[in-house]
């Protein structure tokens, strides 16, 4: 078990006042809230911050934690000294919705969690808790509606009333045409119900891994297409990659860099399907040989153009 430095997690000194602790927590909770933050490890950071606050906001727990001493470094192998918590009265307050605290927390304060009810829940339902997670998939998974194996870590209240982390692997068919940021719901894949009630649901937020070629925007897909200056000037038929395979695109003569061409219905599938936008990027070859230089010089004579005329220079 690793030692956790709750003061460092909240970025405060060991002699911080309760007000300073609360301010630090509020600030970091807003920063790392999984609904707010897009950082990949936001959920872990949010839980870590919540766990630190859970201990430090409560003067009893804070005093007990301080008694372990400041000699420990974060991440250091840690075993609580025998009888470390004698002489401390825990009132058993401080219920945190997040659940799933670290082993370190459980070792120090775990027994207080034992009396906990059947898990956090709002309102009347006896249905199991809903779980939420964010998963990274490839654009191709959405395009083809492929099945993906996802591994999730779920906090779960065990038979002993303690919170354990359970790993589970799910085979999820990624719905065809699902977009970045959309949620999908897997019924009955959340926490266990109690009193014979049904299990909760699992909500997964879809994020796409950065793609080598394509940039998604909703169901539309953008791709940058490098073209040679003479292809742009003369036009022609160019082969373009799409998620569904190569297609031929006719470029009219006189095309310019930055010009956007649309391939209707070649984006992510749906009703209606998205489009693929091809953004042209003229790539100018370097004049590395005397022959190439001569060609460019001839062009300069043939096209006496001032491309900066609109800039009044």
């Amino acid at each position: 078990m690793k030692f956790r430095d709750y003061y460092a997690i909240l970025g405060i000194e060991r002699d911080a006042t309760q007000d300073q602790i609360k301010q630090a927590y509020r600030r970091l909770a807003r920063k790392f809230h999984p609904d707010v933050s897009k950082e990949p490890d936001a959920e872990n950071r949010f839980k870590e911050v919540g766990e630190a606050y859970e201990v430090l906001k409560d003067p009893e727990k804070r005093a007990a934690y301080d008694r372990i001493g400041g000699g420990w470094q974060a991440g250091q192998e840690f075993t609580p000294p025998p009888g470390w918590d004698t002489g401390f009265e825990f009132s058993g307050g401080g219920f945190t919705d997040a659940g799933g605290f670290s082993d370190f927390f459980e070792a120090l304060f775990g027994r207080m969690e034992a009396g906990r009810g059947p898990g956090p829940g709002r309102g009347f339902r006896a249905k199991g808790e809903d779980h939420h997670a964010r998963i990274m998939v490839d654009l191709e998974d959405s395009f083809h509606g492929r099945a993906r194996t996802v591994t999730l870590s779920m906090p779960e209240v065990g038979a002993d009333g303690r919170v354990h982390t359970r790993q589970r692997t799910l085979n999820v068919r990624i719905p065809k045409g699902v977009c970045e940021g959309q949620r999908i719901r897997l019924e009955g894949q959340g926490g266990s119900g109690w009193g014979g009630a049904p299990k909760g649901d699992l909500y997964l937020e879809i994020r796409f891994r950065p793609h080598r070629l394509y940039r998604p925007d909703g169901r539309d897909v953008f791709v940058e297409l490098p073209i040679a200056p003479w292809e742009a000037a003369l036009g022609g038929v160019l082969t373009v990659p799409t998620l569904g395979g190569k297609v031929d695109l006719t470029v009219a003569a006189g095309a310019q860099s930055g010009q956007k061409l649309r391939l209707r219905g070649r984006g992510l599938p749906g009703k209606p399907p998205g489009d693929q936008y091809v953004v042209l990027k003229v790539v100018v070859p370097k004049a590395t040989t005397p022959e190439a230089r001569a060609l460019y010089e001839k062009m300069a004579q043939q096209f006496p153009v001032n491309p900066r005329a609109a800039l009044d220079v």
Partner: protein, 104 residues
């Protein structure tokens, strides 16, 4: 630690799906009053004139759940959660624009 593999089919919570007030309440684990308050704040907007006819789309479930989590975790009230949601959606829109234009 226990390993378990199971297969399941997913439902996309998008504009093309429709839920009754009861289903939204069940998905969010709250009483109808809470959803009615959210309608008042513009967090969710059902189609249909009477409560019985109200239909919510998949985005509404996401927004209602997010608003509840923001309230529970950050201590904001409902109007505050509504503001946060709007700002977050604006950031998401700008993030997508930046992604599309290759700025990030």
């Amino acid at each position: 630690m226990e390993e378990r593999t199971s297969s399941c089919t997913a439902m996309v919570l998008d504009e093309g799906i429709s839920f009754t007030l009861y289903e939204v309440c069940r998905s969010c684990g709250v009483h109808a009053e809470v959803i009615v308050e959210m309608i008042g704040e513009g967090i969710v907007t059902p189609k249909g004139s009477s409560m019985r006819e109200w239909r919510f789309d998949g985005i509404a479930i996401r927004r209602a759940q997010q608003a509840l989590r923001l309230q529970a975790d950050l201590g904001v009230n409902l109007p505050g959660a509504a503001l946060a949601l709007e700002l977050m959606e604006e950031i998401e829109r700008l993030r997508r624009l930046a992604l599309r234009t290759g700025a990030v």
